[in-house]
Symmetry: C2
Subunit: 133 residues, 2 copies
């Protein structure tokens, strides 16, 4: 997809919550792997569409979070979809390296199984390598 | 997966929000298609794990929402995963028919493209057939 999309149409379709945020699910575009879920505000949605690099809103830091800015693990936008009631986005991305701050490809690495909680995805990059020692 | 999983371990890992809810992404287990995003409370998580049928919490109706109860479009639980910070679940399901109340397979059928918002998934079941005339 072109990195240059006017965000006006999408923004008018989104129902931002009381904090001005919308949930955003990141999915690897070709493998279908669900990588993470985060939040976007209007500025993050607009920046993502106009730059083609995925940008979230960090609720903990209270500022725009250009994914990969410190870790290098960027997400290139492939397609951006909104759900039927406008309160969730599905962001199809091409993920550089790993999405999770633990160094795993996906944040969803813990499964509830009969034997208890089981880790189902390995650490691919040591976290200290992602964020410096 | 077995339909009989003790929910205690998973419940202790989840960070429910101020309303007692956790976001839950439903993904078709084999195709990888992201179907919908909804919410669960403690009871919905426990019921899903113990019955093997996916149950959400309906924020609009203020009660448990046994997916497919009225439409017949049920979700059988295949695997349930929690993310690294415990505030989002990934529910791998086997979806009967369609997930969206509009009669589409997925709720994420609207894409932001250079030419505007584009529908990328067809209506497979007329909504009036899902919920009666």
């Amino acid at each position: 997809m072109s990195a240059q999309i006017d965000p006006a149409a999408l923004l008018s379709r989104i129902s931002f919550d009381a904090d001005g945020l919308v949930a955003a699910i990141a999915q690897q575009h070709d493998s279908g792997e669900v990588l993470m879920m985060a939040w976007m505000n209007r500025d993050a949605v607009a920046e993502t569409l106009t730059t083609g690099q995925v940008c979230y809103w960090s609720r903990s830091r209270g500022k725009l979070w250009r994914k990969g800015e410190s870790s290098g693990q960027r997400q290139r936008l492939v397609d951006l979809r909104v759900d039927c009631d406008g309160d969730t986005l599905l962001v199809l991305v091409d993920q550089d390296g790993v999405a999770c701050h633990t160094g795993r490809r996906t944040c969803f690495y813990t499964a509830a199984r009969p034997e208890g909680l089981v880790e189902v995805a390995p650490v691919l990059v040591p976290p200290e390598q992602l964020y410096g020692a």
